[in-house]
């Protein structure tokens, strides 16, 4: 059995009096590749925050493997793209704690170039972050997380607001990273474009609704309990495809009004 690197035992978390996460128990293995899905306000981000240790559980226990190194990739929407930093400066940031020498050392410069090459960003180190394409920008923040040499990479909505080709690019990159031995946990709203491709999905709405491979988890019953809305699930090429019934109804009405 694969070793667990993070374990939640009956974890609850609150913002003041508002309960954001209730009695969550789960295991993340060292070779895991897990997607957290759920509607807005369901506790996905809270779960990631508790996992990362920036938020404490109000009940229950979070156990992390001793010496576990975490890499975090925030939503790109939260980034200030006008901030005056270069790609290399962003990547080097994760080695800030406890460093008194302000300049990047030659060794760090080489390591930054290596991680940029690994992510297909070679030669872009001196560019301002706003001068890159959407896919390259997302890669810069993944590079920053990887520069910390993490055992577990945590990504918050990595495909939010990106086009289809960028989404494919990010998914390929994450698969490559997983195959190189990095455990990955990500939150996503994207059921068809991202979650259904992953080996394991956890459906969350305050608590864990279902946990398992996409074909076992993505079904109308689980989705209705998770999202509170009726959805149909089709199967194509061994993968589940979610059809939003409400949108289906609206499109019928719109087509009807166009007559």
């Amino acid at each position: 059995m694969t070793e667990s690197i993070v374990r939640f035992d009956g974890v609850s978390a609150t913002y003041g009096r508002i309960l954001a996460l209730e009695n969550v128990s789960l295991d993340l293995p060292a070779n895991g590749f897990v997607g957290i899905v759920g509607p807005s306000g369901s506790g996905k981000t809270t779960l990631l925050r508790v996992l990362l240790g920036v938020m404490h559980a109000s009940h229950g226990k979070v156990t992390r493997k001793s010496g576990l190194r975490l890499g975090y990739v925030p939503q790109v929407e939260s980034v200030d793209w006008n901030f005056p930093v270069t790609v290399a400066e962003v990547v080097g940031m994760t080695r800030s704690a406890g460093r008194w020498w302000p300049r990047t050392t030659d060794q760090e410069r080489n390591e930054i170039e290596t991680v940029l090459c690994q992510l297909g960003l070679e030669g872009l180190g001196e560019r301002h972050i706003r001068e890159l394409s959407g896919g390259q920008q997302q890669r810069v923040f993944i590079a920053r997380a990887l520069f910390h040499k993490p055992d577990l990479l945590v990504l918050d909505e990595p495909t939010s607001g990106v086009d289809v080709s960028t989404r494919h690019e990010i998914l390929h990159l994450l698969v490559d990273l997983h195959e190189s031995g990095v455990a990955i946990v990500l939150s996503t709203h994207d059921l068809n474009g991202l979650a259904s491709h992953l080996p394991r999905i956890i459906c969350v709405n305050k608590g864990v609704i279902a946990d398992g491979p996409p074909l076992a988890v993505i079904n109308p019953e689980v989705l209705e309990r998770t999202y509170g809305a009726p959805m149909q699930v089709l199967e194509h090429g061994g993968m589940p495809i979610v059809v939003d019934q409400l949108e289906h109804t609206i499109s019928h009405r719109l087509r009807g009004s166009g007559k």
């Binding site: 901030f83 005056p84 704690a97 460093r99 302000p102």
Partner: protein, 281 residues
């Protein structure tokens, strides 16, 4: 003849002292202003200078050393402002407004009731190069050296915590401590420069050189190098013009800074214009 005219103010010790303090203050405010501008804290700088006014008045009335009284008051206000800024219940701007204007009002009342009100208030509001003493030169130099040392040694953490505080925290940077340190540096800077620049115009000296520099470079490290130069040059030119034109020293320093901003903005063209729309000033 023109050269002699230009050198005339340097015959006077009060001018030399005032110029020295103003140039160091310009460089210091330019340096810290980088953080003020990039963190969208210009209102905090403005509020803090008003809050320190209360401490200055209280120390004058209680006959406590100005730097000690205003220093304690300023740092406490700064930390308080930093904490309130993170709360969202009534909105940070309203909360900061309450604290700083409250402090300003207390200072005004104390000077009205116990002090030589008019002279003291004008000196604190608009600053006075005539009043610069050796203690001011020592204080502003000491704070400048301290701030420079902290920014050099804490450069990486300051950059990370300014750009992305949440991820910096995850990477082990003590973001809360960085914020307290920044507020303490701001408070100390305002305290030692207030007697020359004045309460009303300190926030401008914190914002204008850094905003001008932002138009000139896309590098954080270069901003930290150029902004103090812009601040120091504005102070130097402003002080000299103020002597020859017989205008307010602090007002002229800021006016020179604003002219420099306008020139850089105009020269920068379309590229600069697209950037200025996103400045947090």
């Amino acid at each position: 003849m023109i050269a002699l005219d230009l050198l005339e103010p340097y015959k006077y010790e009060f001018f030399r002292n005032g110029l020295l303090v103003a140039v160091i203050a310009g460089a210091l405010c330019g340096l810290l202003g980088v953080f003020v501008v990039l963190r969208g804290m210009s209102y905090i700088g403005h509020g803090l200078s008003h809050a320190v006014f209360g401490g200055a008045a209280a120390s004058a009335v209680m006959k406590v050393n100005y730097f000690l009284g205003a220093g304690i008051w300023g740092i406490v206000s700064g930390v308080l402002i930093g904490r309130i800024s993170r709360k969202r219940v009534i909105g940070a701007d309203a909360a900061i407004g309450v604290v700083t204007t409250g402090s300003f009002a207390v200072g005004l009342m104390l000077l009205n009731r116990y002090g030589q009100a008019k002279r003291s208030i004008e000196a604190v509001l608009f600053g006075s190069v005539l009043g610069v003493q050796t203690a001011d030169i020592v204080a502003v130099s000491a704070v400048a050296i301290g701030v420079l040392a902290i920014i050099v040694l804490g450069y990486r953490r300051l950059l990370y915590a300014t750009f992305d505080p949440e991820v910096a925290r995850i990477s082990g940077v003590r973001v809360g401590a960085v914020e307290v340190l920044l507020m303490a540096m701001l408070s100390c800077t305002i305290i030692v420069t207030m007697r020359v620049i004045g309460t009303l115009l300190i926030s401008a000296l914190l914002v204008v050189p850094a905003a001008t520099t932002r138009l000139m470079t896309n590098s954080f490290a270069r901003m930290l190098t150029i902004a103090p130069i812009v601040g120091a040059v504005s102070s130097f030119v402003g002080m000299n013009l103020a002597y020859h034109w017989d205008t307010s020293a602090s007002g002229t320093i800021i006016a020179v800074g604003v002219v420099a901003f306008a020139v850089v903005y105009a020269v920068g063209g379309i590229r600069s214009r697209s950037r200025i729309g996103h400045l947090h000033v």
